[in-house]
Amino acid sequence: MRYAMAIDTKKCVGCSDCVVACQLENNVPDGYCRDWIVENVKGKYPGLFLEFRSERCNHCDNAPCVRCCPTGASHIVDGGIVLVTRDECIGCCACIESCPYDARYVHPKGYIDKCTFCIQRVEKGQNPACVDVCPTHCLHFGDLDNSNSDVSMALKDRKWKVLSPDAGTRPQLYFLI
């Protein structure tokens, strides 16, 4: 089993619903967020190129945050989801320094926090909150090992890219382009 997410950059309008849904579902403290929208503008007027990306933890296959954690608080569970055990986290911030996507932050209570792919929902067979709330249905979640899953279907006949592939982390957020 390998959970992953595909984000359709052609459909995303940058409304930030995914950000709010996540904050509500996961009780994210005020002023913090586990997912965010990047607007990328490239080129020269009038030939401008615009891309919206809903970004979050990439749940990397080769996760540097898990490798550098001195206590083992950062770990990978079945399905490839990267999690932090709060009672084992000492707040040394090594994982924050090691993440090329800046997907982690220090929770005001001291431990390190990040996107969990809403594991509490996924375990019940539901989608992460951001996926279900998206008004343009641009987020696709599921098991890559299952060829009929939403994410596998989305990746089947579209071109995609991942972020900073040269960081060698084998990220599991696929951006449809």
């Binding site: 997912d35 965010w36 550098c68 206590t71 090329p100 932050y105």
Partner: protein, 313 residues
């Protein structure tokens, strides 16, 4: 143009607009760790080579400050932890993939060892000292007996500690400025050089100082070479590496790095030490203080700049 903006209004403390989760505590600790490693390495070295009578300050006096330096460093590290009450989790596991984990274990061993080292010399440092407890006296004579093996262990641990302060940073491939294997040897050499500088400052014997200055000069030259190699490596590297090197080559850290670290912290004290070896009188504290200052600045600048350097999307 190629502009990336977070339009959902992200402004997380210490993460946005650029990473700054490690403040002064980490570079201070890296400096103190390297300093203690340098002091303890040479204390052990001159015992193993049988020169303890010629090198009194290096073997007996300078190590007195090592436990204090280590404890201040450890306090800084603890201060930096954001989930402090759980710090003991560090010592529930050994994770070789994480330099922070084996570094924490190294500190756990070398700190008490440095205390034992000083304890074994206490009667020579304070002739009137009396442990008053028989068992302590017995333990002390045992420590004196095993001084050579203790010196070997201390030397090995000092090298590990010195290298670890650099590898700690180079293990983060997300920060291109740190992600170079030269950082380990560079921090080791720099740490040993600061250790020698502190010992030179403490020593009252000109003959001993000459020997230490000679060694220190070699370390300074090696350090300068490693710095040149560091930038050669970056400039021959990927765009991410070139961009991170630019922070020091025209970017915001150019002045502080080349003036405070390279010129004032390495070249100038190196020239002073060389002149002193040729017979010119230079107050011993001037090159020593400059090297210590340069070492501290070096770590502050690398930690700050490294957090700014990043992968380009």
């Amino acid at each position: 143009m190629d502009e990336e903006l977070i339009v959902s209004g992200r402004h997380i403390p210490n993460i946005d607009p650029y990473l700054h989760v490690w403040h002064w505590q980490i570079p201070l600790y890296l400096f103190l760790g390297g300093l203690a490693a340098g002091i303890l390495f040479f204390a052990g070295y001159f015992v193993v080579t049988g020169k303890q009578e010629k090198m009194k300050a290096t073997v007996k006096w300078a190590p007195i400050i090592a436990p204090f330096v280590l404890v201040i460093g450890l306090t800084a590290l603890f201060w930096d932890l954001k989930h402090k009450l759980y710090f003991w989790q560090l010592y529930t596991t050994v994770r070789f993939e994480s330099p922070m984990s084996w570094g924490a274990w190294t500190l756990m061993i070398i700190t008490p060892l440095s205390v034992l080292w000083v304890a074994s010399y206490l009667k020579e440092i304070i002739p009137t000292w009396d442990w008053k407890v028989v068992w302590f006296n017995r333990f002390e004579s045992w420590l004196i007996k095993i001084r050579v093996p203790m010196a070997w262990v201390m030397m090995i641990l000092a090298v590990i500690l010195g290298i670890y302060t650099g590898i700690l940073l180079s293990a983060f491939n997300a920060r291109p400025l740190w992600n170079t294997s030269i950082l380990g040897p560079l921090f080791l050499v720099s740490g040993f050089s600061t250790g020698l500088a502190a010992t030179i400052w403490i020593s009252t014997d000109p003959a001993e100082r000459r020997i230490l200055s000679r060694i220190d000069l070699v370390f300074i030259v090696v350090e300068l070479f490693l710095i040149v190699h560091l930038f050669m490596g970056f400039l021959a590297g990927t765009e991410t590496a070139v961009e991170s090197a630019k922070l020091f080559l025209g970017g915001s850290f150019t002045m502080s790095f080349w003036v405070f670290v390279v010129i004032l912290g390495l070249i100038f004290p190196g020239v002073l030490e060389a002149m002193e070896l040729r017979g010119l009188h230079v107050p011993k504290w001037i090159p020593a203080a400059l090297i210590l200052f340069g070492g501290l600045m070096f770590r502050f600048i690398i930690v700050e700049a490294g957090q700014i350097s990043r992968f380009l999307n």
